[in-house]
């Protein structure tokens, strides 16, 4: 919760639960990131060659699931960005009722496990309307991640020095004009890296939607396994594919962050 008087923040938001983000110092050929990423990649190539059955079959069986995982992830992050931005603005709003609603939303959502939320929203929705499973999944992920992204946007907005808002309103801008033309453009650069991390977290958490009969990567792996009883092998491939994806994106986030630091502003 925001305290009465907040100390001036650094314009860098630290996250602790992100994927493995290669730091600047890790330039060597044997950084943890390189070993993990290329190790996973090598296994994904080596296993199907060495043991075509079942690994080759599994690799041919799951691509549909990878696409589905991306579909859920991209749709969810897109909607969650909208919800998160509104929530973040709501959290700093001077209008008490809006502020209260945004804060309660964040507190409630963050206090419930995502898996429970997914089940809950699925069955709650089912009482009112019949929506496709994938849509229920996206709605659940959006509701959950909207709250987390809202906190990132709030922190990002509050990290902008208050002199910026003062200068803008002293010139005659309204608070909302100042927010959209002065504060938010500066917030974007601050929140991009943590948003990238949330994207990776969402990619991983999307595996939870496999419980809603959405044929994502995990579910495809399990479908294969339940037919063939190659549980260990199927989940090995599933895990390796997730690992390659998250490590790839974490590298991307790190590069983005580095580029922005170099640009300085």
């Amino acid at each position: 919760m925001a305290s009465v008087k907040e100390p001036r923040r650094e314009t860098r938001i630290e996250v602790s639960d992100g994927a493995l983000i290669p730091g600047k110092g890790e330039k060597s050929a044997f950084s943890a990131w390189r070993i993990s990423f290329f190790g996973a990649l090598a296994l994904l190539v080596f296993l199907p060659i060495a043991h075509p059955s079942p690994y080759r079959e599994i690799l041919l069986f799951i691509p549909d699931g990878i696409l589905k995982t991306f579909e859920v992830t991209l749709l969810s992050i897109a909607f969650a960005l909208v919800v998160g931005l509104l929530t973040g603005i709501g959290r700093i709003s001077r209008i008490r009722i809006i502020n209260r609603i945004a804060t309660i939303y964040v507190e409630v959502i963050r206090g419930i496990p995502l898996l429970v939320q997914i089940f809950y929203i699925y069955y709650a929705l089912g009482k009112v309307v019949q929506v496709p499973d994938i849509m229920a999944a996206v709605i659940a992920m959006t509701v959950c991640y909207g709250a987390y992204l809202g906190e990132i946007f709030r922190a990002g907005i509050q990290s902008i020095h208050k002199g910026q808002m003062e200068a803008a309103i002293a010139l005659g801008l309204t608070r909302s004009q100042a927010l959209s033309r002065v504060i938010l453009p500066q917030t974007v650069r601050v929140v991009l890296p943590p948003l990238g991390n949330e994207f990776i977290a969402l990619l991983k958490d999307s595996s939870l939607v496999s419980i809603l009969a959405v044929s994502d990567l995990l579910r495809r792996g399990r479908e294969y396994a339940s037919k063939t009883f190659y549980y260990f092998e199927a989940l090995t491939v599933v895990a390796l594919v997730y690992l390659v994806m998250t490590l790839f994106f974490s590298r991307l986030v790190a590069l983005m962050e580095e580029r922005m630091n170099r640009r300085g502003r």
Binding site: G163, Q164, A168, A170
Partner: protein, 243 residues
């Protein structure tokens, strides 16, 4: 002539701290008022109440016919006519020097892009920074940033300009370039309230000097009178420290 700014029995408390106590002050059109006093004496608070960056606890402030302190008056409209220059410049770091200046005219006054740019360029020329229009604030020195900030405030054609310690954050060699711009502005007839301890500016441009201490206006008068023969003991003591 009617007063441009009238501060009437103005008080401001921050919790239990009294920042401004029964301050009364009028400023005529074209008058340049220099506000001096020890830190924490309420100088900045008084300035910030004039465009309602802070709300008075009691008292009134008027700008021409508009009562700033009236909740019903359109404060945004009033702020258009009151330019403010901050100690820490507060330029918008994501915009170029020119864009910093054109932002408010374009958004608030709906000035067409072309006109706003022409206005911005002429203001940059006025503060001597024509060649910096594409520079971002971080690429400018402190003195240059503050000059852009002055141009940015002037772009709204204000009736009054407030300067809140405009040179305190500057290295000594950059102070003069900012003061030169301010002196010129004063000569052009701008009404100005300036919180500063720059004696050079006081001599060159100030019509009135106001000394504040503990949230109160202790003494006011012409620069000659206040600096050469201050009446109040507290003023004498303070001037001994800074002169």
């Amino acid at each position: 002539m009617a007063d441009r700014v009238r501060i009437i029995d103005a008080s401001k408390n921050f919790g239990k701290v009294v920042a401004l106590k029964n301050a009364t002050l009028s400023v005529k059109p074209g008058e340049v008022v220099l506000v001096i006093g020890p830190s924490g004496s309420g100088k900045s608070t008084m300035l910030r109440c004039i465009n309602r960056l802070e709300n008075l606890t009691s008292g009134q402030i008027w700008i021409d016919e508009d009562q700033v302190t009236d909740r019903a008056s359109d404060i945004r409209k009033i702020r258009e006519e009151v330019g403010m220059v901050f100690q820490s410049f507060n330029l918008f770091p994501h915009l170029t020097a020119l864009e910093n200046i054109t932002l408010a005219p374009r958004i608030v006054k709906k000035t067409p892009e072309k006109e706003a740019v022409a206005l911005g360029k002429s203001l940059l020329a006025r503060v001597g920074l024509s060649e910096k229009e594409r520079s971002y604030p971080e690429q400018l020195s402190g003195g240059q940033q503050q000059r852009v900030a002055i141009a940015r405030a002037l772009a709204m054609s204000p009736k009054v300009m407030l300067f809140d310690e405009p040179t305190s954050a500057l290295d000594p060699e950059m102070i003069k370039e900012v003061l030169d711009v301010m002196v010129e502005l004063a000569r052009d007839g701008m009404t100005m309230l300036v919180v500063s301890h720059e004696m050079g500016f006081a001599r060159a441009a100030a019509h009135t000097v106001v000394f504040m201490d503990n949230g109160e206006i202790i003494e006011r008068g012409s620069p000659e009178a206040v600096f050469a023969s201050p009446k109040e003991e507290r003023t004498q003591r303070f001037l001994k420290h800074i002169l």
